[in-house]
Symmetry: C2
Subunit: 724 residues, 2 copies
């Protein structure tokens, strides 16, 4: 239990860091009156949107709560509610600090680039540490309660179900937040650009554009709040499923199980500390490279995590060379034991053999850190302005809109290759070290750095907003130049987070599937389910699972297109009815545009968000009706893998491609291929517009979608078995 | 053997039909001198390209022939050579008739719409019947030789291997032809449009554009020759793998096996006859609907095929109610028998139980016909100008290039849903009727209509060319209007063929995997290979298999972008060096552009075409080195399914999306949303450009890619087992 307390303390430290740092941010000057005016309009819009979004989600949440209470009992219901509330809280707090930091960043950038960087990054770090801290606290406190005051054994089915329900709560909120926020931000962004830049010929963020405030609100509710909820979900699901897998797969006495199950919490805890240390390293070097400054923070955290993980693993497990599991096994038995476990042939009631050492787990976690580092590197290659991919899109812009988009799509497709190969190698290596548990710990180590990764990402929308405020408030040109420089890096860091989240999902896929098969063997011991690829229901499940990200992507893209069209109509109407707007003599009605986008985003997010919740349930019942329960479970299991096999590629291609398009535009704006206003620039603006819903709406929402599909399947099993 | 003779006779009839009909086509007037000049430039370019393409493929083919001769022996080598030669021949003959029919169609369209339609469709029908006829002859004659003069039993391993090698020959040629032709046609098309329509402001097919002949050559070498080779491959692989599956999975005496293995040939034979009858039904009705005229032909063939299939099945099998298989089994045993077979637990040496009747097979084939009909219907919905998808893209064009592309991508993603659901239902229904053999017969019935489907497709490039020739030769405006009307329908029929080919691949996936597992059990009886989804090597195989279509698509898109860029440079150079071109006083150098595109296409096609050949081999050896042969085979098997699970979606989305973009442009050109020259039209041109490599390069080439990956795996097994 000491280890759980350590995790709780680290979680509290993260929250305290958030408090202290947000105080620092808020104590900075919010600029002149004009800037404060603009900022408060953004704040108002963001708060109004989030309020409505949460109200809608609350209705869905209440329905789900009732269903869970009836089918799975009180503890799972509490878990669900905690997960849902904290996921919402993470997004809410992140948004709140972000809408205050934007104007302060603009003000700080008047002083120096370093000033702007520090302000923006600090506010990002608040969000980052709150995501990790709240995530850790949610699981650690709940686990403490269940194994302590509630007196349950660590591998009690109730704990397994309650932790799964906690993850479900986080996932459910996050898919709504990711998608709703994503639709909002891109509908406003695309709509504002189309009618402003393209039609009216006024620059981006021009205060005469009635959609300009909505665009800035979007950065906060989509790229900040939505992203924070998503990463909170990824954090909770990854740590949760690692603990659940230990409970399901390892047979050991309660003390050893407790230690092993606490280890992910301890890792999460110490990595929060290393992340906090890393945040203080973000400082411009002599070269003045912003990316370099952010990397200093990231690499400090990552490198410090190596010894930290070793120390805490040794402390938790005691002996790093002791064979873990129910008993010590010879090396030769190990493969057979894993086979028995991974094929679901074992259930927790019979002795399951599994043998690996603490050192093995340590190396698995090093693999996880390496995957994180490699994904950062690959993402920078595909989305950074210094490398072939972005340059090739910029070059293709010279021959027009069409070739820009063709090259961007080519890069999107290509960008899936290296991350997939990295994930594949990591899966095999971790599996060979410690089986499914090894893969789970790899994913846990990846997510342990979430605080730092989210900090880098949440920094982006703040700088984006700061630039908008600088423009609208008519600040000096050099301020806008500085915020633009800060923002360009934001495109890469945003792409990094998405690649990182979906990469961890790829790693966790087998773990989630392992949990599914083990649950199945536990709940339905008499049922033989054939997960072989030669079972046609497995093929059916794979195909229908693979369809989900496509259908989901189609919904997301259509929603943005439709809502952006509505924005265009609205803005055209305002220009028409009030010619004073374009002359700069009267103020456009910003609120009406914000309100329009709010309603559109809420309306459009519901159906696609329910798709991954209802599809697995529908598939199970239909196939069971056609060919019996064994076929139903086989199809359902295959769907879980189908959704990741296809979702990984859809998400990676969309997020990398979108980032590359955006930076190709920035690369041209930096004076290449004719610079701003050239034909190449116009083509690049088209590519950027196409990439917007790719990278910020459809692509990132695939990650929570995959998780939801998996978790719903696990809960369905529990509900069918009548446990509660 | 009588049945095989029947098939051979039908194949000969198809070839005769081709001869007679091409005579009819050639006897029509080739128009005035100017038209003939243009047509001969196109002919020359097409012949030059195909000559170089075949030379390059011949080198690869020779290397593969040597490898096969060493590893698999003489019969397989002969099979490979036959498949390769006839695949090449199908493309060559199709191209040859197409480059002659184009000018005659233009001339006929001067008379009437019906005249143009008849001419274009007849030449398409020549290609269609030759594809089906040559495909059927290749398998039937080879099978006749092997079971007759060579004296082999129908299920001799040598026959299995030789038929597989035949399919490999067809596939290998077709991937080069599809991809090379696809790169050629779209590089020329995109390049010509960019520099002509966009930069110089001259209309499409303006003779002043130096890339205009290359564009027309592209239609013939890509959409006609490449498509014909592709469908030839699909035909041969589907019929071949059905026969191989019967040989592998069914235990019966030689006479019954012979009858069953001849059945796919007989089905192919009678459906050639029904397709020929259908071609005579293509006539404009009172409404004057071109699509309606083509549908009359298609539906006649499809409906006539129902009784034809029933009669020939009854004739072949004798008794439609007799249980087929080694012995009659009770219904209750049936599932267990299938299970044993499908899990690969059986090998051909032990009695394998399998029971279904001729009636069951008949219904499976009806499912295949239904899938074909539904895919036609779904494709028309997604790509026709009368329905929501295309209209939504046209509407989105009003707000600019970006929203056009966004909506097009959304439609691309969405268009995968219905075909997938149709395929999933077909797989389950056919499997429940007659197991894997049932699915195989469903796919066979789909492909039996290939003659008609290819006819509808090959009609497209002819009308496209006819329009070009009409423009360049300065024919009356109404001629161009007629050819444009004929061409618009071509976009849908082209999309239909691609959906149909990839849909049949989806259906055949389980059959190919069944062949793989059965081969594995035969060749390596002592090896236990775990194809369960909980085996990490299965996940690895699925992920890497899923990566292949993405990487392949990236190569294809990049190649088109790069080659189109080179065309733009070349044309700009010609305009600059010779100002007389734009004034219409001097003739541009068409040949130099054709030559440039030829070289680019050949260069760019090689690496991506080798990807599916080498990837399965590399994966097997790497995984075997890491974790032994059982893991290697598991990963390889999973790769086969991964490539279809992801390839199905990539191909469907690209081909439907591309067709929808193209027709959205045509819909605007018909006077909607401002018509030609409006801002919406410019945006739609961008969408069309983006859709070009989607639908004509990367998307369609995924189909042969999937087959190659599967067949290489089967041949690898045989080679590893040292058979030959």
């Amino acid at each position: 239990m000491t280890i759980v307390y350590l995790a709780i303390v680290c979680g509290v430290i993260a929250v305290l860091y958030g408090f202290v740092t947000s105080r620092q941010v808020l104590s900075a000057s919010p600029g002149n009156e004009r800037m404060q005016d603009i900022a408060s309009a953004i704040q108002e819009g963001a708060r109004a949107y989030l309020g409505r979004q949460y109200t809608t989600i609350a209705i869905v949440g209440a329905v789900v709560t009732i269903v869970l209470a009836v089918t799975l009992g009180l503890l799972s219901t509490i878990g669900f509610v905690i997960g849902a509330l904290l996921s919402g809280l993470a997004g809410f707090v992140g948004m709140n600090i972000s809408v205050r930091a934007n104007v302060r960043t603009a003000e700080a950038a008047r002083g120096s680039l370093q000033g702007g960087l520090t302000m923006a990054f600090r506010s990002g770090a608040v969000t980052g540490m709150l995501v990790a801290g709240l995530g850790l606290l949610a699981i650690a406190l709940f686990f403490w309660y269940l194994t302590g005051p509630a007196g349950l054994l660590p591998n009690d089915r109730k704990i397994v179900e309650a932790l799964t329900a906690l993850a479900f709560g986080a996932s459910l909120i996050s898919i709504f937040a990711r998608l709703g926020g994503g639709i909002f931000t891109k509908a406003a962004d695309v709509g504002a650009d189309l009618v402003g830049k393209v039609e009216a010929g006024i620059p981006e963020d021009d205060p005469r554009n009635p959609a300009v405030i909505a665009d800035n609100v979007g950065d906060n509710v989509g790229d900040c709040a939505g992203m924070a909820a998503d990463l909170f979900e990824t954090y909770v699901v990854t740590l949760g499923v690692t603990m659940v897998s230990i409970a399901l797969l390892i047979r050991a006495d309660a003390g050893e199980l407790m230690r092993l199950m606490s280890l992910p919490l301890a890792i999460g805890g110490v990595c929060i500390i290393t992340s906090i240390i890393g945040t203080y390293m973000v400082r411009l070097g002599r070269g003045g490279s912003i990316m370099g400054a952010l990397y200093k923070g990231f690499w400090t955290s990552a490198l410090l995590s190596v010894p930290a993980i070793w120390v805490v693993t040794q402390w938790t497990l005691g002996d790093m060379h002791k064979l873990l599991g129910g008993a010590a096994f010879l090396d030769a038995d190990r493969d057979a034991a894993f086979d028995a476990i991974t094929t679901g042939a074992t259930d927790t009631a019979t002795p399951a053999a599994m043998a690996f050492t603490g050192t093995d787990l340590f190396w698995c976690m090093m693999i996880g850190l390496a995957v994180t580092g490699l994904i950062v590197w690959i993402t920078e290659y595909y989305t950074g302005t210094n490398y072939r991919p972005v340059k090739s899109i910029a070059r293709a812009s010279e021959t027009g809109h069409g070739t820009n988009v063709i090259q961007g799509l080519a890069i999107s497709l290509e960008a899936t290759a290296l991350p997939t190969i990295v994930i594949v190698i990591a899966v095999i290596a971790a599996y060979k070290l410690a089986g499914i548990i090894g893969i789970a710990f790899g994913a846990t180590a990846m997510l342990a750095l979430a605080g730092m990764v989210v900090a880098l990402d949440a920094y982006g929308p703040v700088t984006d907003n700061a630039g908008g405020i600088a423009e609208m408030a008519g600040l000096e040109d050099e301020v806008r130049e500085r915020t633009d420089a800060l923002d360009a890096v934001g495109n890469t860091t945003k792409a990094v987070t998405k690649g990182y989240a979906i990469g961890s999902a790829g790693l966790a896929a087998l773990v989630l599937f392992g949990a599914y098969t083990t649950d199945l063997a536990t709940y339905f011991p008499d049922l033989t389910v054939d997960f072989s690829l030669s079972n046609p229901y497995v093929i059916v499940g794979l195909l229908l699972g693979a369809l989900l990200p496509y259908l989901f992507g189609a919904f997301g893209m259509t929603a943005v297109g439709r809502a952006a069209g509505a924005v265009v109509e609205e803005v055209r109407g305002q220009f028409r009815d009030n010619p004073g707007i374009m002359q700069g003599t009267s103020r456009p009605n910003y609120g009406r545009t914000v309100d329009l986008v709010t309603r559109a985003a809420i309306r459009e997010m519901i159906v696609p968000s329910l798709l991954p919740v209802l599809s697995p349930i529908a598939l199970y019942y239909i196939v069971t009706a056609v060919d019996g329960q064994a076929s139903g479970f086989a199809a359902l299991g295959a769907m879980l893998l189908g959704v990741i096999v296809s979702g990984l590629f859809v998400a990676l291609s969309m997020t990398s491609g979108g980032g590359a398009w955006d930076n190709a535009k920035k690369y041209i704006e930096d004076g290449n291929h004719g610079g701003k206003g050239s034909e190449a620039h116009k083509a690049a603006v088209t590519g950027d517009t196409v990439g917007d819903p790719y990278k910020d709406t459809a692509g990132p929402a695939v990650n929570p979608m995959i998780k939801i599909t998996n978790i719903v399947a696990l809960l369905l099993l529990a509900a069918l078995a009548g446990h509660g």
